[in-house]
C-alpha cells in the first residue's frame, strides 16, 4: 500500500533488507498508518462499512491529521492521503482566512496586496 515501502523493497535486494528507513514518521503516527493499511488490506469489511470506519479513523485532533497527511505523503499511500486531505479540507471550508492562518500556525499573514 505504501509506494515508498514498495519502491524500497523493489530496489534493494531482498536478502539485504533488515529495515526500511522511515525516520520521518513518529512511532505513534506509524502505528495509525499501519492500522489503516491493515484494515484496508483485510477485505473483511464491506465498502460501506469501510467508509464508515474511515470517517471514524479520520475523526482525530487536527495536529494528528497534519502528522498523518505528512506521513501518508512521505510513505506515498494515496488512499490514506485522499482521506486525510479531504478531512483537512472540511476543516478549512467554514473558516475565514484569519482562522485558517491560526489553524496552520501561519505567522506571516501579509498577502501580495499589503506589500504593494
Amino acid at each position: 500500500m505504501s509506494k515508498t515501502v514498495k519502491d524500497a523493497i523493489e530496489t534493494i535486494p531482498t536478502d539485504e533488507i533488515n529495515s526500511i528507513s522511515l525516520s520521518l514518521v513518529r512511532s505513534e503516527i506509524l502505528t495509525k498508518v499501519i492500522e489503516y493499511c491493515k484494515k484496508h488490506n483485510s477485505a473483511q469489511m464491506s465498502d460501506v462499512d469501510l467508509m464508515d470506519w474511515d470517517v471514524e479513523f479520520a475523526n482525530v485532533h487536527y495536529t494528528t491529521l497534519f502528522d498523518l497527511v505528512l506521513s501518508a505523503n512521505y510513505m506515498n499511500i494515496n488512499c490514506l492521503l485522499d482521506l486525510v486531505c479531504g478531512k483537512i479540507a472540511d476543516m478549512i471550508k467554514g473558516k475565514t482566512p484569519g482562522e485558517i492562518a491560526k489553524l496552520f500556525d501561519i505567522k506571516d499573514v501579509s498577502t501580495y496586496e499589503e506589500d504593494n
Partner: protein, 405 residues
C-alpha cells in the same frame, strides 16, 4: 486583481456572521502546542494543492487570502481548473431594482454572497450564460426606436472582467432573444440573437432574423431572415450542441395545438444553408424556459389548466431526445405551494445537473438536481421583499476564473 479582493472582502463580512467553529477546542490547543513547528512550514506546496482540490471554489478564494504562500499556491492551482472538484453552478439574483448589485447563491457551501456586477444595468435584460461567461442584452423599449440602441455586454461575474460587444446590424425589433455558447477548450464564444419584428400593416406576420457573433472573427453575420406567419419569437433561447433553439409564440386566434412551439436552427455548419425546423411542445404551457444541461436541451415549463391555459397548475421538466420531449419530473405540490403565489410566468435557469426555479414575486429559490432527482430549497436569501410589487429575477452561471470576455 484588486476587484477580486474587493469581492472577497464583501463576502468575508457575510461569512463572519455565519461561520460555525468546526473544531471547538481549537483555541486552547493552539496555545498548548505553541512550541511545536508550524505545520505550514513543513507542508509542501503539492500537498497544499492537494488539500485545495477538495475545496469549493469560494473556499479557495478565502484560502488565497491567508498568506503570500497560500495566495501563490491557490492562484497556481486555479489556473489549471481541471484540478477542481466539479462545482455546482451558482445563481445570481437581482435584489435591487435599479442597481447592478445582487446576491449570488453558492450551493456548494449553501451560502449567499453579495456581489456587484461590473457594469451598470438592470434586471430588464436578456441574459444568457455559458462556461463562466454571462452575456447581457438590453431589452428596453428603446428597442422600438429606429436608432437601435442595443446594449450588449459580456462579463465574468467572478473575476469582474467585462467587455461591451458591438451591436448586431439591422433594424430594431419588437422582441429579441439572446444565447451564448463558450467552447470549453478554446474559450472562443458564439453569441446568437433572434430578432422578431411585426411586419408593418400585417398583424399575423413577423420578420425573424438570426444574428451570430463569433469571438474569433469578432464580427456579426446574419445567416437567416425569414417571415413567419402566425408565430413570433420572444426572449427565450439557448444554444445546445451547436443548435440554436428558441421559443415561438402563436399570435393568431385559437392555436392549432399549443400556444408555444420550439424552433431549432443549426448554427454549427457554416457552409450550408440551414433552415428553421419546428418542434412541438409536449402540452399547454404558461411559459417555457430553455437551458443547456451538459449539451442536452432541457425545458422547464409552467403547465396550464386545460380550460384556462394562462393559469399555472404545475411545473414540469422535459428533456429533448431525438426531437421528442421526454418528461423528467413534475414539481411536487408541496414545493409548488411553498412559493406562495405563482404567476403563470416565472424564472428558471440551469447548468450541468442543477436547475434553479424562482417565482418573480419572492426571493425564494428552489433547486432540482437532475443527477439524483432531488428537490431542495436554497438557504434563505438574506434579502426580503421591500414593497408589494418588487420583482426578483436571476440567472444561473458557473463560477470560473479562467474564462474572460
Amino acid at each position: 486583481m484588486a476587484g477580486e479582493t474587493a469581492w472577497i472582502s464583501h463576502y468575508d463580512e457575510d461569512m463572519k456572521k455565519e461561520t460555525v467553529d468546526f473544531n471547538l477546542e481549537l483555541d486552547e490547543e493552539i496555545d498548548k502546542d505553541g512550541s511545536a513547528v508550524s505545520v505550514d512550514i513543513i507542508l509542501p506546496d503539492d500537498l497544499l494543492e492537494r488539500i485545495l482540490s477538495y475545496l469549493p471554489i469560494a473556499s479557495i478564494f478565502r484560502a488565497s487570502c491567508v498568506c503570500k504562500r497560500w495566495h501563490a499556491t491557490s492562484e497556481r492551482f486555479l489556473l489549471n481548473p481541471s484540478h477542481l472538484l466539479p462545482q455546482k453552478p451558482w445563481y445570481f439574483m437581482f435584489t435591487s431594482s435599479d442597481e447592478p448589485t445582487g446576491h449570488a447563491y453558492d450551493p456548494n457551501l449553501r451560502k449567499w454572497y453579495c456581489i456587484e456586477l461590473p457594469f451598470v444595468g438592470t434586471s430588464n435584460w436578456s441574459i444568457s450564460s455559458s462556461y463562466g461567461l454571462v452575456c447581457f442584452m438590453d431589452n428596453d423599449s428603446s428597442f422600438m426606436d429606429n436608432d437601435s440602441r442595443t446594449e450588449l455586454c459580456l462579463c465574468n461575474p467572478i473575476t469582474k472582467s467585462c467587455r461591451k460587444l458591438q451591436k448586431p446590424p439591422g433594424m430594431s425589433s419588437d422582441y429579441g432573444a439572446l444565447a451564448i455558447s463558450v467552447d470549453k477548450e478554446t474559450h472562443d464564444y458564439t453569441v446568437a440573437i433572434v430578432k422578431s419584428k411585426q411586419v408593418p400593416g400585417n398583424f399575423f406576420q413577423w420578420d425573424i432574423s438570426i444574428h451570430i457573433y463569433n469571438s474569433k472573427e469578432e464580427a456579426w453575420v446574419t445567416p437567416l431572415t425569414e417571415v413567419l406567419t402566425g408565430w413570433r419569437g420572444g426572449e427565450e433561447s439557448v444554444i445546445c450542441n451547436g443548435v440554436l433553439y428558441f421559443v415561438v409564440y402563436y399570435t393568431g386566434g385559437v392555436p392549432p395545438e399549443n400556444r408555444h412551439a420550439l424552433v431549432a436552427y443549426n448554427i454549427s455548419n457554416q457552409f450550408s444553408q440551414a433552415s428553421l425546423s419546428f418542434i412541438h411542445i409536449p402540452c399547454s404551457l404558461t411559459c417555457a424556459r430553455l437551458m443547456n444541461m451538459k449539451e442536452k436541451l432541457v425545458m422547464v415549463g409552467g403547465i396550464g389548466k386545460l380550460d384556462r391555459p394562462d393559469i399555472i397548475k404545475g411545473i414540469g421538466i422535459w428533456v429533448l431526445r431525438d426531437k421528442k420531449w421526454e418528461e423528467i419530473v413534475r414539481m411536487p405540490h408541496k414545493y409548488f405551494q411553498g412559493f406562495g403565489e405563482f404567476d403563470d410566468v416565472f424564472g428558471s435557469s440551469g447548468v450541468d445537473d442543477l436547475i434553479y426555479i424562482q417565482s418573480y414575486g419572492s426571493p425564494a429559490l428552489l433547486t432540482f438536481d437532475m443527477n439524483i432527482k432531488q428537490w431542495k430549497w436554497s438557504q434563505k436569501c438574506p434579502v426580503t421583499k421591500k414593497f408589494p410589487l418588487q420583482l426578483f429575477t436571476g440567472f444561473c452561471f458557473e463560477p470560473r476564473l479562467e474564462t474572460a470576455p
